[in-house]
Each structure stands twice: as structure tokens, then as C-alpha cells.
């Protein structure tokens, strides 16, 4: 009698927990099988494009312009730019974001933004668009410092901004702040509202940072690479849906020294993450996913030196591009390389080469109107840009749809 009563209660408890669990499951978006990313196609410049389309053969990248993005007046320091291409119907072709203030981690650092006018091809005067006090007021709790921004255009054409916002401590106390345009129109390009801090860690949600560009998916969503850096450094891939809602988080590597993963899709399910490494070897590390980002494993090093500095990747047609600092020590050189498979890279050209002590770092890339744009930190004082066109016998220009 005693046992049967316990058995009955156990069955009832299982039924209650099961039913409530099912009710909870029913409220969620249908992610499909665990291979959340499987079958997703890579999107380049707003058009869904499989790798292999728009081959870039028999030509080369030619630099057709370079300069500096205007700084906000009276601001001496700039770092960590991010580029995002806007839909073809928008009067601006590109947006650039970076953090600017007295110095890195200064209390007055804000996120600056400039837009590239599609008609004139000129950058607008920069404006501060994210202020930590204003964001803190919107969220209801304090923010100590602002850091790296990353931008993304969702399936509805709305721009999202992910910004490092620290709590109590330095960068290791970072959180990933999610902002959206206050209203998705050209007139309100400058107005942003904080929507949330992404919940990524149990430890007071600290020590997750963002730096490298998202990998857009054909379903309108994207994979946002982030990294943890309190004591141990490891990269994580976040999947967000077409509205920017968090869907899943998957560790990319747990080696403990790897950070700032730059994602490359070498096939529909075959993805690579190229990572900055904090170890003494001075290499770019690599991780691979063979199932569309559902699982990742370490895949050795690239045969490229790197001084523990952020890299940027982009896929243009069937060509993968990488911008990185090519020396084991010093960020005074910046190089662009290309690859067909993401593993073997050949130099395209040196973007910058300065004396020791100079810094050209934290690159970002985007395709806009068939041209390749690269931005990077110049001496921690401003954001430089270079523009490239594909010159040659390619049947289609990169970033444009195949016929």
C-alpha cells in the first residue's frame, strides 16, 4: 500500500512535470531538429547565395579608393569598427560603427556611427549614437563602459547593434547589449533603443563580448560569434532568428585561449571559425563545424602568423577573404588574403605597413554595390577605410546575383 501510494504520486509528478514541460515547449518557436543551422544558405549582400555561385576567376582585387571615416568633433580615440551593408533600396549603402572617446575604456566612450551615401559615395559626419548613461536608463541598471560594436540587418531590413557593455570590472566583465533602430526608416537611422542584454552566462551574465561580424543565413536569421574572456577565453556561436531573438548558443572551442571568432561558410553545412589566439605561438586558430553550426571541433592552426589580434572574414562569390595582422609581434602590418577553401590562403595585398609601434588593427569587411569595403583602426585615433573592385574575367561581380 505504501509503495503503491508512492508509485501513484511519482506517476502523478511525472505527468504534471511532463504536461507543464510540454506546455512550455508548445510556446516556443519550432526550431526543427537539433541541426538548427542545417540547410541554411549563406547570404551575401542581401541575396541568398550558395558558395560556388558567382565564381571570381581570372581577375584580381584592385584598390579603387581609401581614406578615413570622419570622427566626431573633438574625439581623440577610435577603435573596433564594424561595417554593415544596407538593402539596395536604402539611400545609404553602408553603416560604420566604432567606439570613440578619450581612450579605450574611458568613461566617455560612446558608439559612433557614420553612413556611406549611396549616391555621392561619401561618408556622413560621424555622430555618437549609443551613450552608456542613456542605455542604462532604458535598461534600469548601470553600465560602466562601452566597447566593440557589431551590426546586422535582419530579415525585415531593420538594423541591430550588438555592443559590449561592461558591469563591475574591465572587459572581462563585459555583457552583450542588444540595440535596435528606434524605427526602421532612413530618417531615424540615428535613433537607437536598447532592447536587452543577451542572457549568456550564469555568473551574473558577465564576460561575454562581441567583436566579429555575424554570418547571415538565408532564413533571415544569423549566427553571432561571441566569446568569453574571464580567466579562460573561449568562443561561442549564437543563433538568432530573423527578428533578432536568441535561438541557441553552441561553444566553438573550449581550448581556453581562443577568442573573437570570425566565421566563414565554406559549404552549406561546412563552416569554419578563424580565431585570434592568446597563446605564445602567434597563430590564427581554426575550428570547424560539419553540421551547420550545431557542433564545432578544433581544426588546428592556419599557416599564418598573427600577434593575438582580431581578424575579419567575408565570403564573396566562391572566394573567401581574410584581413589580418601577419606578424607574430606587432600590429603595424595589415594584410588581405584570399582562399578557395578557407584553409590555404594566398596574399592579395598588404593594406598597411608601418614602422614598429604603429597600429592598424581590428578590421571589418562588407560588400556594397559590388565593391569590397575594408575598415580598420588607424593608430587608435581614427577609422580608416579602403575600397576594392574585382577586375577581371569573372562572369559576375561579387555580391551580385547570378544570372
Amino acid at each position: 500500500m505504501f509503495f503503491s501510494s508512492r508509485l501513484l504520486r511519482a506517476c502523478a509528478a511525472l505527468a504534471i512535470a511532463g504536461l507543464l514541460g510540454l506546455a512550455d515547449a508548445a510556446r516556443r518557436a519550432d526550431l526543427g531538429p537539433a541541426l538548427a543551422h542545417a540547410g541554411a544558405q549563406i547570404q551575401v549582400n542581401g541575396s541568398a547565395q550558395s558558395p560556388g555561385e558567382a565564381p571570381l576567376t581570372g581577375g584580381h582585387w584592385e584598390r579603387v579608393g581609401q581614406g578615413h571615416i570622419p570622427m566626431p568633433p573633438g574625439v581623440p580615440a577610435a577603435h573596433a569598427s564594424a561595417l554593415v551593408a544596407l538593402p539596395a533600396t536604402h539611400p545609404s549603402a553602408l553603416l560604420a560603427f566604432w567606439f570613440a572617446g578619450d581612450r579605450e575604456s574611458a568613461p566617455n566612450v560612446q558608439i559612433a556611427m557614420s553612413s556611406l551615401d549611396r549616391a555621392t559615395g561619401s561618408w556622413s559626419p560621424a555622430r555618437m549614437v549609443v551613450d552608456r548613461w542613456e542605455v542604462a536608463q532604458q535598461l534600469g541598471f548601470g553600465i560602466r563602459r562601452l566597447g566593440n560594436p557589431v551590426a546586422w540587418v535582419d530579415g525585415q531590413g531593420q538594423v541591430h547593434l550588438f555592443v559590449v557593455a561592461t558591469g563591475l570590472g574591465g572587459w572581462a566583465a563585459g555583457r552583450v547589449l542588444h540595440l535596435q533602430q528606434a524605427a526602421p526608416t532612413a530618417q531615424t537611422l540615428w535613433a537607437w533603443k536598447a532592447t536587452a542584454v543577451l542572457p549568456l552566462s550564469w555568473l551574473w551574465n558577465t564576460s561575454y563580448l562581441v567583436r566579429t561580424a555575424p554570418l547571415p543565413l538565408a532564413d533571415g536569421g544569423m549566427v553571432l560569434p561571441v566569446y568569453f574572456e574571464l580567466a579562460r577565453k573561449y568562443p561561442v556561436a549564437l543563433r538568432l532568428d530573423a527578428m533578432g531573438a536568441l535561438l541557441s548558443m553552441v561553444p566553438i572551442s573550449t581550448q581556453g585561449q581562443r577568442l573573437q571568432p570570425a566565421l566563414l561558410a565554406t559549404g552549406e553545412r561546412d563552416w569554419l571559425a578563424l580565431m585570434r589566439d592568446g597563446g605564445p605561438e602567434g597563430r590564427i586558430r581554426m575550428a570547424r563545424s560539419a553540421d551547420g553550426g550545431a557542433h564545432w571541433s578544433d581544426a588546428g592552426d592556419l599557416p599564418l602568423d598573427n600577434p593575438n589580434a582580431s581578424v575579419a572574414t567575408l565570403t564573396a562569390g566562391d572566394q573567401h577573404l581574410l584581413v589580418y595582422n601577419p606578424r607574430k609581434i606587432g600590429r603595424n602590418e595589415l594584410r588581405m588574403a584570399s582562399s578557395a577553401d578557407g584553409r590555404l590562403w594566398s596574399t592579395v595585398l598588404d593594406l598597411e605597413s608601418g614602422p614598429p609601434g604603429h597600429e592598424y588593427s581590428y578590421p571589418a569587411m562588407a560588400m556594397a554595390d559590388g565593391q569590397l569595403w575594408v575598415s580598420y583602426t588607424d593608430q587608435r585615433q581614427s577609422i580608416a577605410w579602403q575600397r576594392f573592385s574585382w577586375v577581371g574575367a569573372s562572369p559576375t561581380a561579387p555580391g551580385k546575383e547570378s544570372p
Binding site: A13, L20, A25, A29, Q137, G142, G167, L168, P199
Partner: protein
């Protein structure tokens, strides 16, 4: 396959999209949460004093800090506590509320049989100890996962409906094993917490954040050490 995919139970065992809370009420929750936790902590701390005047002063300080935590903006305490520690877990809030209610009941009705018998049975019950050990184990798992020492992403699993169902089962365990209602603390609080979490997803949409936060994890260590010492000194 499509038919199988449409079954809800698959979402229990496969990846499921996290359900996140609406941001609108999170600020209110943060104010209320820190007010409750601070009031309970300071009130409990005040009980360590033997002098009645000091205990009363501690009580007043607890009330003042709770009010301070309710002030919005940079002048409010929860603005700065949120900067460092975000929002306390629902469990920490529920335990704080329970403690404050007990204090109030003892003060208002010091000689009621119910209040004293409840307190006695809670002290002798094994369930608070069991839940504290469980909470501590969960905390260590989450801590190891935070630093990527586990082969699976334990924190991320807290977004899934299966983790929610598991917590419900754990909260129902005393009832399944036939424990008396008066001895099952903190299972009723956990059930309330899970009900609130199921409806609101507070504070982050992750069930681990609802049932355990790092400060509560620290508190469980203190509770277990105190209980061990009390048992060995008795």
C-alpha cells in the same frame, strides 16, 4: 519525418528556442528583488546581535535599504547592484520573502503554536539540507560550465523545456516521497518560483537563473556549514 517533427515531445528532447522575458517589467522585478534580498539579509544579520536596541537598529537599516533599492535611476541602489549582479534569482526572492514573513509572524504573534511548530519542524526536516546540497551541486556544474570545463553546455540547456520539467520533478520530490507538508521547505517556494518562471520567464528566460544565482550559491555554502556546526555542537 514531418509528422514526427510536429510532435511536441520532440521539442522537449531536441534544441528548443529559448523563451525570453518581455523587457517591460524586468526593471520592476530588479527593484523588488534587490529590496527583498537586502531586507532579508540585513534583518537576518541584525538577529545576530543580542542587544535589543541593535536588533531594532538593524531592522530599521533593512527597511531603509529596501526602500533605497526601490528608487529608480542612478540614485537607487538596484541600479548599481544591477550593474554588478543583474537581478537576483526568483528563488532568492522567494526565500527572502518567506524569511521576512516568518520574522513578521514571530513578531506579531510570538506565542502562536503554529508558528513555533512550523519553525521546529523546518529545523528538523532533512529537505532543506537535501535541496541545499542539490543547489550547491547545480551551482558547481554551472560554474564549471561558465569556464567551459564541461563537455556539454549546461547553462544553455537551462533554456530548454526539459530543464524546466526536471526542476518541476525535483520540486515535487518531497510530495512523491510522502513527506509532511510542514517539512518540505523549500519545495513549496520552488514550486511557486517555477510557476512564476513558467508564466513570465523572469529573470532571463533560463530556468537556472530562476532557481539559483551566484549569491544564493554562496549562501547555500554558509547554510550547510552552519547546519553542520549546529549538529556537531548539539
Amino acid at each position: 519525418m514531418n509528422l514526427l517533427d510536429s510532435f511536441l515531445w520532440l521539442r522537449l528532447v531536441q534544441d528548443a528556442a529559448p523563451l525570453l522575458p518581455q523587457p517591460g517589467y524586468l526593471a520592476v522585478l530588479r527593484h523588488a528583488g534587490w529590496a527583498l534580498v537586502l531586507a532579508a539579509l540585513l534583518s537576518a544579520g541584525a538577529q545576530l546581535f543580542t542587544a535589543r536596541r541593535l536588533r531594532e537598529a538593524g531592522g530599521m537599516l533593512a527597511g531603509t535599504m529596501a526602500l533605497w533599492a526601490c528608487i529608480p535611476g542612478t540614485w537607487g541602489l538596484s541600479y548599481w547592484l544591477g550593474l554588478a549582479f543583474q537581478t537576483p534569482s526568483l528563488m532568492a526572492m522567494a526565500l527572502s520573502l518567506h524569511y521576512l514573513w516568518q520574522r513578521l509572524a514571530q513578531r506579531k504573534w510570538p506565542n502562536t503554536v503554529q508558528a513555533s511548530s512550523l519553525a521546529r519542524s523546518a529545523q528538523s526536516s532533512p529537505w532543506p539540507y537535501r535541496y541545499a546540497v542539490l543547489g550547491m551541486a547545480l551551482g558547481y556544474l554551472l560554474l564549471l560550465d561558465t569556464f567551459a570545463y564541461l563537455p556539454l553546455a549546461w547553462y544553455a540547456w537551462g533554456f530548454s523545456p526539459l530543464a524546466y520539467a526536471l526542476c518541476l520533478l525535483l520540486a515535487l520530490a518531497p510530495w512523491v516521497l510522502g513527506a509532511r507538508w510542514s517539512q518540505t521547505a523549500p519545495a513549496p517556494a520552488m514550486l511557486v518560483v517555477l510557476a512564476v518562471f513558467g508564466l513570465t520567464r523572469w529573470p532571463t528566460g533560463n530556468v537556472w537563473d530562476a532557481v539559483l544565482d551566484p549569491w544564493l550559491f554562496v549562501g547555500l555554502h554558509i547554510y550547510l556549514v552552519a547546519r553542520y556546526r549546529a549538529q556537531h555542537h548539539a
